[in-house]
């Protein structure tokens, strides 16, 4: 074997091992090349510089027909909004207390309008508009915002040149663009006497939660009947007393508005609770009878004024109220 032959062999061996290690690190042999046709079909994004805009054209007039058919029912005939967001108006409102975020008032590039309509609109039938139709609807929405005149036509060359009113309304000068960014708001690690006064500045109005969200107490876990009932350490009086110092029965009677007609001891419209207790305590059917009375309401036992049915009070609470009465109305 000649010297040059040896050299060739050596080079070949080095090359082979290099190829092998590259293959191990990089080439998983997974996936396949995407074809130009596949890329063209899926790659529909458009950048502010116009990259990605397909060839095509559409006029404001063509856009109006499409808009009235397919867009106005959600966004309003003039883009003033309807069931969904307003597309026009609000220019200059962004620094006020009631900012309107529309295409005219907030969007910085018309290319984004085209991109979004083409990929996502109409909401119920996205990707159903042709390229020309998308240029036309974009043109009409810009016309609704007085950005384009009524005779305007948009295409891949003119769209990126449209200057939106809020073109310069965005900044990247903030600390949230990077994990190493500098925060704009600073608090300290004070531990003692940090605030001179603490004032509640906002809370929900009474009744709001019940009205809008229903009984949110049901969004929490709760398993046992009484705190410590039947368990070691829970004396009868401790069970009865709640954190507010009132018995659970008294709390429920107040919560459900029972006290409007029944005093604790005294008659108001109906009998006092302790009067009811005195009459029925010890009777075998008292529980059933009182439960029934709460559901059906009625008059006769204590006078002529009828009690309305209390079905709005949850059954569990009705049971707790009856038990409370039959235990002698502990406060």
């Amino acid at each position: 074997m000649s010297r040059s032959e040896l050299h060739v062999l050596w080079v070949a061996a080095v090359l082979a091992s290099a190829t092998t290690s590259v293959a191990l690190a990089k080439d998983y042999g997974l996936g396949r090349p995407a074809t130009p046709a596949e890329i063209a079909e899926w790659d529909i994004d458009v950048r502010p510089d116009g990259q990605g805009l397909p060839r095509g054209r559409g006029s404001v007039a063509e856009g109006q027909v499409l808009y009235d058919e397919q867009c106005a029912s959600c966004h309003g005939t003039f883009g003033e909004g309807g069931p969904h967001m307003a597309l026009a108006g609000g220019v200059g409102s962004l620094k006020t207390a009631t900012p309107m975020r529309t295409i005219g008032s907030k969007l910085n590039y018309a290319t984004t309008l085209f991109d979004y309509i083409y990929r996502a609109m109409p909401f119920h039938a996205p990707k159903s508009l042709t390229i020309d139709q998308t240029y036309a609807v974009s043109a009409y929405v810009l016309h609704l915002n007085d950005i384009l005149p009524a005779d305007a036509v948009l295409d891949q060359d003119s769209l990126p040149k449209v200057v939106m009113p809020n073109r310069d309304g965005y900044t990247r000068d903030h600390g949230m663009g990077s994990v190493n960014g500098k925060p704009d708001v600073h608090n300290t690690l004070c531990m003692k006497s940090c605030e001179k006064t603490v004032e509640i500045t906002s809370q929900l109005p009474p009744g709001f939660t019940e009205q809008v969200y229903g009984d949110v107490s049901k969004h929490f876990r709760r398993y046992s009947a009484f705190p410590g009932a039947g368990e070691a350490g829970g004396s009868a009086s401790a069970q009865e007393k709640s954190a507010g110092g009132k018995s659970q029965g008294l709390q429920l009677a107040q919560q459900h508005g029972c006290m409007a007609c029944h005093g604790l001891a005294n008659r108001i419209v109906g009998p006092g609770f302790s009067e009811i207790a005195a009459r029925y305590q010890g009777q075998a059917d008292a529980r059933t009878m009182l439960m029934d009375k709460l559901v059906k309401g009625g008059a006769g036992n204590w006078g002529a004024v009828p009690m309305p049915p209390q079905t709005a009070v949850p059954e569990t609470d009705r049971q707790l109220l009856v038990e409370w009465i039959l235990r002698g109305v502990p406060e």
Binding site: I39, L107, T112, Y170, R172, L189, M191, G230
Partner: protein, 435 residues
């Protein structure tokens, strides 16, 4: 911190309050049935709170349960049926572009069960057949490629625990209190163990242009084909193309069969139902990073590409809508997280921020993941204002609401990471308030 001897305390306890009338009558019927047959044996039906000082033997201790494997895919106990995601009434105008919130008040630890991970869709939730799903990578790459799900499952995989928080989490509280419970104030927040391929692995596999690549675009396969720009340094750092969520495939609500996961960054960037990644040299200014998901400042300027979720925490128990029935011992517990790394410390105040004590952090304390904190509290029955304040490893301290407002006003919608206050009334009722 533990100077007072804990006494037993309870969070409202009424047995059947969370059962529907149908449940209650079913339970009653069952009870009556068992009472009839069991009474002969023991002489007493089980009812802990009704029997005269006896615990009784419950029916499930006296009958054979369901056969093994009765539920091939297990579900929570029927008694946990109230632990669900919920929409906030009136928040959105379309049920297809809406959000359901995670019930943070009900959860333990740091992992969100898959059925309770918050869901935000922008154009409905697609049901994707994984055999038909493809991921395309194109743009500034030497070889644009298409991957099947089988391809992606063969790549080297990683599993990491990260939170996802919507940039608009707590958005309703910028100007004033407007929702009652932690589910609605903070429930666009979840945390899972995600499994997938590092995006850098796939970008390398396509030979991306290291010199010119500055950003990537991620695109979904849902109706609006949602798109977001991600800077290349994040994309190469810890971004994943994920298919696994807490040991199983992603739930449809969370992007089945494939999603992007951009740790520490507002949730919209973690594009669900991921179908395409494009490599480019400029950001795309998509609708969800210009018209929306940009933070409006008092001077009318919008901060764009506000990716990072800054350090934040919230007490999940006791929290708004809950009721404390007893005085005595409670463990205050909650969650802390930071898009910039690990949680270093959490302090808790029970007097509206006058005085603070440092809480205990539960292991593991992971970067860009939820961290559970806890602290003992002996409630004396007097009004209390509960707050938590988190610090991350960069030293950043979670701000007060008024500090945030001084800089950002009240109209920015996104990135409200203020200290949350819960007011405890002497009655034991807990309310959402601001101080």
């Amino acid at each position: 911190m533990k100077d007072k001897q804990p006494k037993p305390g309870r969070i409202i306890p009424v047995p059947e309050n969370f059962l529907s009338p149908a449940d209650i009558s079913r339970r009653r019927a069952l009870k009556a049935l068992l009472a009839g047959s069991a009474a002969a044996v023991s002489g007493a039906a089980f009812s802990g709170d009704e029997s005269g000082g006896k615990l009784g033997v419950p029916p499930w201790s006296k009958s054979l349960g369901k056969p093994v494997g009765a539920n091939p895919y297990g579900l929570p106990s029927e008694f946990e049926r109230h632990v669900i995601r919920r929409e906030s009434p009136g928040l959105t105008t379309s049920p297809h572009s809406s959000v359901v919130f995670t019930p943070l008040q009900n959860l333990f630890g740091i992992i969100t069960p898959n059925g309770l991970h918050f869901e935000r869709d922008h154009g409905g939730r697609p049901d994707i057949d994984p055999s038909q799903h493809r991921l395309m990578i194109n743009g500034l790459v030497r070889q644009p490629k298409i991957y099947t799900m089988d391809d992606l499952l063969r790549f080297p995989s990683v599993s990491r625990i990260h939170f996802i928080e919507c940039g608009a989490n707590t958005a309703m509280e910028w100007a004033n209190v407007s929702v009652p419970t932690v589910q609605y104030t903070h429930g666009m927040l979840s945390c899972a163990e995600w499994t997938g391929v590092m995006l850098s692995t796939l970008l390398d596999d396509c030979g991306f242009d290291r010199k010119r690549a500055k950003y990537i675009l991620a695109e979904g396969a849902d109706a609006p084909s949602l798109t977001r720009t991600v800077p290349i340094e994040m994309a190469l750092d810890d971004v994943m193309v994920a298919y696994g969520q807490n040991g199983e495939m992603l739930r449809p609500e969370n992007g089945y069969p494939l999603r992007l996961l951009v740790p520490g960054v507002q949730g919209v960037s973690s594009v669900k139902w991921l179908r395409r990644i494009e490599v480019g040299d400029q950001p795309w200014n998509t609708r969800e990073e210009s018209l929306h998901y940009s933070d409006l400042m008092p001077d009318g300027m919008s901060r764009q590409y506000t990716w990072i979720q800054e350090c934040k925490s919230v007490i999940t128990s006791p929290s708004g809508g809950q009721k404390l029935l007893d005085k005595g011992y409670y463990q205050i517990t909650g969650l802390a997280w930071s898009g910039r790394g690990r949680i270093k410390r959490v302090d808790v105040s029970t007097d509206g921020g006058r005085n603070w004590r440092t809480a205990e952090l539960q292991d593991p304390i992971l970067p860009k993941a939820l961290t559970r904190f806890r602290i003992d509290w002996h409630w004396n029955g007097e009004p209390a204002l509960l707050q938590s304040r988190a610090v991350d490893e960069t030293g950043y301290v979670q701000p007060k609401m008024r500090q945030l407002r001084e800089v950002r006003g009240t109209r920015s919608i996104y990135h409200n990471n203020a200290i949350q206050t819960w007011k405890v009334d002497p009655s034991g009722d807990v309310h959402n308030v601001q101080v």
